[in-house]
């Protein structure tokens, strides 16, 4: 077998990985984190009012959830159509314990994450035994059950009318200004991306990707695939829970919409739109999908129609998502 050029598979262009110094800077770990830090630091220079800060903060919140969800969907190849459920549970746990019971917000946030993580751990085993559409159905059902419970237990959650939530304070310091939230969320996003990149570039990350690539191949070389699926499910649920807690405090209001099926779908769309198995794609997807509706509001009644059309067109023409498609395009251009 001494063919110089590959002929099978790949469908055309053979891709090789560059290892030069310049390419190393382009690698997600170093170059990407640098770019992200620069963007987070410079963005405030362009934010002119509270509305724009608000959009930026919401992008940050969504991006953190989606970075976590991308570990599950993009890397491990396990879909979840119910992740807003975990987000909603985290949010309500914080909202109720802080606002009604007067717990310290940070404690509530951590306990919420622990409780949601535990719940995710308990359901993960039976749920992740399922594959493909059956997995989609199970996670969807789980999310909807959570959202129905949040809607119905009105004496606790305020039901469909929602509930007012106390602001977020740490040791007497209360986050009140938009810029304070901006730096909090920006910092957390940076940490989330860093953690995600760490996982991917490690034995755990390889195990997750192998689960996606070929479960049985991973098993026969000693990867306990069930354990890793459960692990990544819990991690992504914890990411969602933490964001849920913070978001409730930030908006100071919480309604069951946070846990709705549509919100779950939005999160998955962000993963796929940005590009599966691309941490920065997840951030880009979150940014676009959070900002887009803000730009479309002038369309009023036509907003959903146009939004849906854009979504369909992007997915039809860039089925691998924006970041991987652009990266492939750049690479092809570079090879010539």
């Amino acid at each position: 077998m001494t063919k110089a050029e590959p002929t099978l598979g790949g469908g055309g262009v053979a891709r090789r990985r560059d290892t030069g110094l310049g390419a190393r800077l382009m690698r997600p770990r170093t170059g990407g984190l640098l770019v992200l830090a620069v963007v987070i630091c410079l963005l405030p220079l362009f934010l002119q009012n509270n509305f724009q800060y608000d959009v930026a903060i919401k992008i940050g919140f969504n991006a953190i959830v989606v970075v976590g969800l991308n570990l599950l969907i993009g890397y491990a190849g396990q879909i979840s159509l119910g992740h807003a459920g975990f987000l909603g549970l985290g949010a309500y746990f914080s909202a109720i314990t802080v606002t009604k019971l007067g717990w310290p917000p940070v404690l509530s946030l951590v306990l919420a994450a622990a409780v949601v993580g535990l719940l995710a751990f308990v359901v993960a085993r039976p749920v992740l035994r399922l594959k493909g559409h059956y997995l989609a159905m199970a996670t969807l059902g789980l999310g909807i059950i959570i959202s129905i419970v949040l809607n119905q237990e009105a004496q606790l959650t305020g039901g469909p009318d929602g509930m007012i939530v106390d602001p977020f304070s740490v040791f007497g310091f209360t986050f009140a200004k938009a810029w304070q939230w901006y730096w909090l969320v920006g910092g957390l996003l940076f940490v989330a991306v860093w953690l995600s990149l760490n996982i991917i570039d490690s034995p755990v990350g390889r195990a997750l990707r192998a689960v996606h690539g070929s479960e049985v191949a991973a098993e026969v070389v000693g990867v306990d695939t069930t354990r890793y699926k459960v692990l990544v499910f819990v991690v992504s649920a914890v990411f969602a829970s933490v964001v849920g807690s913070l978001e409730a405090h930030y908006i100071m209001f919480l309604s069951p919409n946070e846990a709705s099926f549509f919100h779950s779908v939005e999160l998955v769309i962000m993963v796929v739109l940005g590009g599966m198995a691309s941490t920065f794609g997840a951030v880009v997807g979150a940014a676009i999908l959070t900002a887009l509706p803000q730009f479309l509001t002038f369309l009023e009644d036509y907003e959903h129609l146009i939004f849906g059309l854009i979504l369909m067109l992007v997915m039809i023409f860039l089925p691998k998502g924006i970041v991987p498609s652009l990266a492939a395009l750049l690479k092809r251009g570079g090879d010539r």
């Binding site: 559409h133 159905m137 039809i316």
Partner: protein, 291 residues
């Protein structure tokens, strides 16, 4: 006691029949393409809403129904031709997102073309209640059940006795082999979408006099139909019908005897339990993975 029981049973059968029709639509499209069409519920909404607006514009009800079903079928064909067919080799998740995008588009279009109000239709043959074993049912309930039975029988005949039905079955079992023996698999795909859309529309027309309709009713109906198809075992049309009826009945009894607030949750609790114990649905293929 018996009256109450029968009342719940009929109520469950009625919504179960609708779930069955929606689930059938999922199964048909899944069989032909392995795509889960999350816009299936929107077909139900389109059927009901179009009929409402056509008949409000003075079109006689039977004609309005035919037109609405035909128009919805055209939307189904367009979805296949303009979106699904354009995405060869897309991953399952990408396809799911595309059909979700389509559902958003259809809902968005409906709120512009129609409106955001709730609408209803007159019952097809009056409202005079019928007493069956202590339960009071409306003639419309009989319409729902009767038409569903008729559709299932017609489909049975279609798949087992006609060339086109067999071509669709062949494509679902092995698309490549079907192509090799000369079946136009693209056309099969197109027909499946058209047929599913028509089925959805019929369900929408049937249920509107009972539950009324608006531009958002497709969301929950779609999810319940998906549940029915999954419960029955994806790709089994018979399973989808059984799954739909089971869901409808469980929901009705759950709402009646346990908690009406959690009516919508019942279906999903059942499906989770079912999937935990039978990971391929009730009638799904249960093969061992070949490696």
């Amino acid at each position: 006691m018996l009256g109450e029981f029968m009342q719940y049973l009929f109520s469950g059968l009625t919504s179960g029949a609708i779930y069955a029709l929606v689930g059938l639509g999922f199964a048909l499209i899944y069989n032909a393409s392995h795509v889960i069409n999350f816009a299936q519920g929107e077909f139900v909404m389109l059927g009901g809403m179009s009929t409402v607006f056509l008949s409000a514009a003075g079109v006689p009800l039977p004609v309005a129904v035919l037109l609405a079903v035909a128009a919805t079928a055209v939307v189904g064909l367009a979805l296949e031709k303009l979106a699904v067919e354009q995405t060869k080799n897309a991953s399952v998740v990408t396809l799911i997102i595309i059909t979700i995008g389509a559902s958003i588009v259809i809902r968005g279009a409906a709120q512009v073309i129609f409106d955001k109000q709730f609408h209803t239709l007159p019952a097809f043959t009056g409202d005079a209640p019928i007493n069956v074993l202590g339960a009071t049912i409306t003639p419309q309930t009989l319409w729902v059940l009767g038409v569903t039975v008729a559709i299932v029988l017609v489909l049975q005949w279609f798949f087992n006795r006609t060339l086109w039905g067999k071509a669709i079955l062949a494509t679902s079992v092995n698309p490549l082999a079907a192509k090799l023996v000369g079946i136009n698999t693209n056309l099969v795909l197109l027909i499946s979408f058209g047929l599913s859309a028509a089925l959805g529309a019929i369900a929408g027309v049937l249920i509107t006099p009972i539950t009324s309709t608006n531009f958002e009713v497709g969301i929950m109906l779609g999810l319940k139909g998906f549940s029915a198809a999954i419960l029955g075992g994806l790709g089994s049309p018979f399973g989808a019908v059984a799954g739909g009826l089971i869901l409808g009945i469980v929901e009705a009894f759950g709402a009646g005897y346990i908690s009406s607030e959690y009516k919508d949750a019942m279906a999903f609790v059942i499906i989770l339990l079912a999937l935990f114990f039978m990971p391929s649905g009730l009638f799904g293929k249960r093969g061992t993975d070949r490696v």
